[in-house]
């Protein structure tokens, strides 16, 4: 059976950075990604990133993917990429991982170490008529529009005013689509205020304390019914009908953690991180001594922190493999934690920090050998 010193599952911002960091220290890396191209969600991000210059602030997401993939080229002798390949399951009995490449090519790999950078799944909310064509997740809308150049509709109602809902609304307008409104159940926008201001000044209304209760239409979406809700989420007042042909849901993400469950990692439900996540130490290592996590699968956050977590995980694997001197490891480890601390210090980061405190154990950070 094929073996590898390090398997990275997922080629988004976290997985790419983990691969680069580990390969930089001389580790041979195998990276699998279910998509045809690497980059994960970065390739659809046409907006400029926040953060500092370390996280490519002011650079558009797809450009960041280009930058990371260029770095990949320089390390291509150490990184084996399998795209269009899904890691299906972990078998703790023999430490193997089952893979599916394409439609029918099944194979197995035995990794000595693994970094799970599997990202997230979209959440949806239930409402009448949500089976109708025209009801989309924001990820699908972004894929259609920004990856394939397909306009998803002409009049879009966005559900959710988090960063994804606000940014995708702006991107839809850039693609010439009319965004008829953004619906948000909370009493304020959940995403960055500046992203909201950006769509407001182009005339898009944001309906705070509203939710969608019904999609109208017999064979496709022709409209949506909204209700005002009170602070306890009970409907109040009269329903409001809006004409639209797309209802786009951006109501949150949950960490994609199936493989971590299968591998037997200690898991914990942490609402601030949006679902079940693996307990981990400061090196991003899980309770399984050979499995690390990074990015959204470790808790929903921004791509900028996913990149830093990827670096941390890659560094820690290389250290565990004896490729990084202790003092160098400590120096970089502290540097990356400094960056994460900066990224999480804002208003939006408070919740994330609370979640991370619950997910973090203090005691494990030690060499692999000691825990075998």
């Amino acid at each position: 059976m094929r073996e590898t010193p390090l398997l990275i599952v997922g080629g988004g911002p976290a997985g790419l950075c983990a691969a680069l960091e580990a390969a930089n220290f001389g580790l041979d890396v195998t990276l699998v990604d279910s998509d045809l191209h690497l980059g994960g969600q970065l390739v659809k991000q046409t907006h400029k990133f926040f953060g500092s210059k370390h996280e490519y602030a002011g650079t558009r997401g797809f450009k960041i993917a280009h930058i990371l993939l260029e770095e990949f080229q320089r390390l291509s002798h150490r990184i084996t990429v399998h795209s269009n390949t899904t890691a299906l399951s972990c078998y703790p009995e023999d430490g193997s991982v089952a893979m599916l490449t394409g439609e029918s090519n099944y194979w197995k790999l035995i990794p000595r170490n693994m970094v799970m950078a599997t990202g997230a799944n979209e959440k949806l909310i239930p409402f009448l008529g949500n089976h109708l064509p025209g009801v989309y997740g924001a990820g699908a809308v972004q894929t259609l529009m920004n990856s394939y150049g397909v306009k998803p509709g002409d009049r879009v109602l966005m559900v959710g005013a988090g960063n994804i809902g606000l940014i995708v609304s702006y991107q839809l307008m850039q693609a010439g689509v009319h965004v008829v409104g953004i619906v948000e159940a909370q009493d304020r926008v959940g995403g960055y205020w500046v992203h909201a201001a950006k769509v407001r000044r182009l005339g898009v209304p944001i309906y705070l304390r509203h939710t969608v209760v019904e999609a109208l239409g017999s064979s496709v979406v022709t409209g949506a019914v909204l209700r005002n809700i009170d602070s306890a989420f009970r409907p109040v007042g009269d329903p409001l009908t809006i004409e639209c042909d797309v209802i786009c849901m951006a109501v949150g993400l949950s960490p994609n953690v199936e493989l971590l469950w299968q591998a037997g990692c200690d898991m914990s439900f942490i609402p601030q991180l949006c679902g079940y996540v693996a307990k981990r130490d400061k090196a991003m290592r899980t309770s399984h001594p050979h499995i690390w996590v990074a990015g959204d699968c470790a808790g929903i956050e921004e791509a900028s922190s996913a990149m830093v977590e990827g670096r941390l995980a890659g560094l820690s694997v290389a250290h565990a493999e004896g490729l990084v001197p202790d003092d160098e490891y400590r120096r970089l480890h502290d540097k990356y934690w400094g960056r994460l601390g900066d990224l999480r210090a804002g208003e939006v980061g408070e919740k994330i920090c609370m979640g991370i405190m619950q997910a973090m154990v203090q005691q494990w950070e030690m060499p692999t050998e000691a825990r075998r």
């Binding site: 400029k48 002011g58 558009r60 205020w193 500046v194 201001a197 000044r201 182009l202 900066d342 208003e347």
Partner: protein
């Protein structure tokens, strides 16, 4: 919605008065500063600092914490609009009040097609997208060659505190 004190507009992304991170330049300096001064509308603490790192004169002060809202030394601002072009939140604008007796020249970020052309007129929009009138485009630049344009447009001085976007109106 029984919160008379709750600012629903601000909560939905509309600036409703000056606050930290979203102030206007001192009037006296503003009226005499050739090429204009920056107006920043960034009232929320988020991890972001390209306005400071791109500022060539140090007018946008260093951030002690990357989450700080920006603060400006207006004396040093030259109205160059590099921050307008770099800000991921499109929250920086420049207004030059020395442009003419009754017109200001505003430098606004723009990321749509078609591109405005110098000499044409564009619609002037306020913070909720209402069309306040139209203005003549004087210049269109792309300082960082990254598809964010800075549109220099003539705006009546009374509207400087309201105009925050332009729209190219295509005749159909």
């Amino acid at each position: 919605m029984n919160h008379p004190e709750y600012d629903w507009d601000f909560a939905a992304g509309v600036l409703t008065g000056e606050r930290e991170g979203a102030g206007t330049p001192p009037q006296e300096l503003w009226e005499r500063k050739k090429a204009g001064l920056v107006i920043i509308e960034c009232p929320q603490r988020i991890p972001c600092n390209p306005c400071h790192t791109s500022c060539p004169t140090g007018a946008i002060l260093p951030f002690a914490d990357i989450n700080d809202v920006p603060s400006v030394n207006y004396e040093k601002c030259t109205g160059c609009a590099l921050c307008v072009a770099v800000c991921p939140g499109l929250a920086c604008f420049v207004a030059d009040l020395t442009y003419s007796a009754d017109l200001a020249l505003m430098k606004l970020p723009y990321e749509f097609l078609p591109r405005p052309t110098p000499g044409s007129t564009v619609a002037l929009l306020n913070r909720v997208g209402e069309r306040l009138g139209q203005g003549k485009v004087v210049r269109v630049v792309e300082p960082h060659k990254d598809k964010t344009l800075v549109v220099h447009v003539e705006v009546s001085k009374q509207m400087v505190n309201d105009v925050r976007a332009v729209r190219v109106e295509v005749l159909s």
